[in-house]
């Protein structure tokens, strides 16, 4: 879920966003621990470039 900074602006999803947050938002099941980090999940699923972008690498 998108968050806001101190100025009330939306800030981008960070690498440490949890899979569970997305599962809850969309009512889906991704078959991994809900506290798994989004970037790690994407990397394991084969989305290496996207995961690296989330990590800022």
């Amino acid at each position: 879920m998108r968050t806001k900074n101190s100025k009330g602006q939306f800030v981008a999803k960070r690498f440490d966003t949890k899979v569970g947050t997305i599962e809850k938002k969309y009512g889906i099941e991704l078959g991994v621990r809900s506290d798994k980090k989004l970037g790690n999940f994407l990397e394991e699923k084969g989305y290496k470039s996207l995961a690296q972008m989330l990590k800022g690498a």
Partner: protein
């Protein structure tokens, strides 16, 4: 500037915010495409939308670099055409001999009117991207253009992870340009 932005090098607040919104959206589309809740055709459709969003991110970043390097007033497009002055001899229905001249017109263009193909070409011409990146962006553009379903000759249901990883890898290269 929000620290968590995925595009911290973009100093235009509006553009950076819009890029982050698009990036957030595409990561969520990917997760939807991984859920067993959806059938393979729907998953492929999520992937297609992801490609369209990623292409729009690539387009916006390239335009940002172009604006940094080139002034709008210097954006010109040359068009050459052959103007027939006089028909001299009709050889057949398909051929005729004519008298004419080449006319070159120079048209002023605006940043807001550029499409991805124009931006890609201008970035290459101005040394912002290499020929290799130019070709990759063109491939992304072709994938993106499949959003025009009226022109498609095959059924669209086979967007793969490989297609996505390709467009993400191009986006990543573009992000690293500075």
């Amino acid at each position: 500037m929000p620290k968590a932005s995925n595009f911290p090098f973009i100093t235009d607040d509006v553009l950076r915010e819009n890029l982050d919104i698009a990036f957030d959206h595409l990561t969520e589309l990917i997760l939807l495409s991984e859920s067993p809740k959806y059938n393979p055709v729907l998953k492929s459709s999520f992937r297609k939308t992801t490609i369209i969003y990623t292409a729009s991110i690539i387009e916006a970043i390239l335009l940002w670099f172009l604006k940094k390097k080139v002034k709008e007033v210097d954006l010109k497009r040359e068009t050459k055409r052959f103007k027939i002055e006089k028909e001299i001899y009709q050889i057949s229905d398909a051929e005729k001999i004519v008298l004419g001249k080449d006319v070159t017109t120079v048209e002023q263009i605006k940043f807001s009117k550029l499409n991805l193909a124009d931006i890609n070409t201008l970035c290459k011409e101005n040394g912002i991207i290499t020929d290799s990146i130019f070709k990759k962006v063109n491939k992304v553009r072709e994938l993106r253009n499949k959003l025009h379903i009226g022109t498609l000759t095959v059924i669209e249901k086979d967007y793969s992870k490989k297609d996505l990883e390709f467009v993400f890898s191009v986006a990543r290269e573009i992000k690293k340009l500075p």
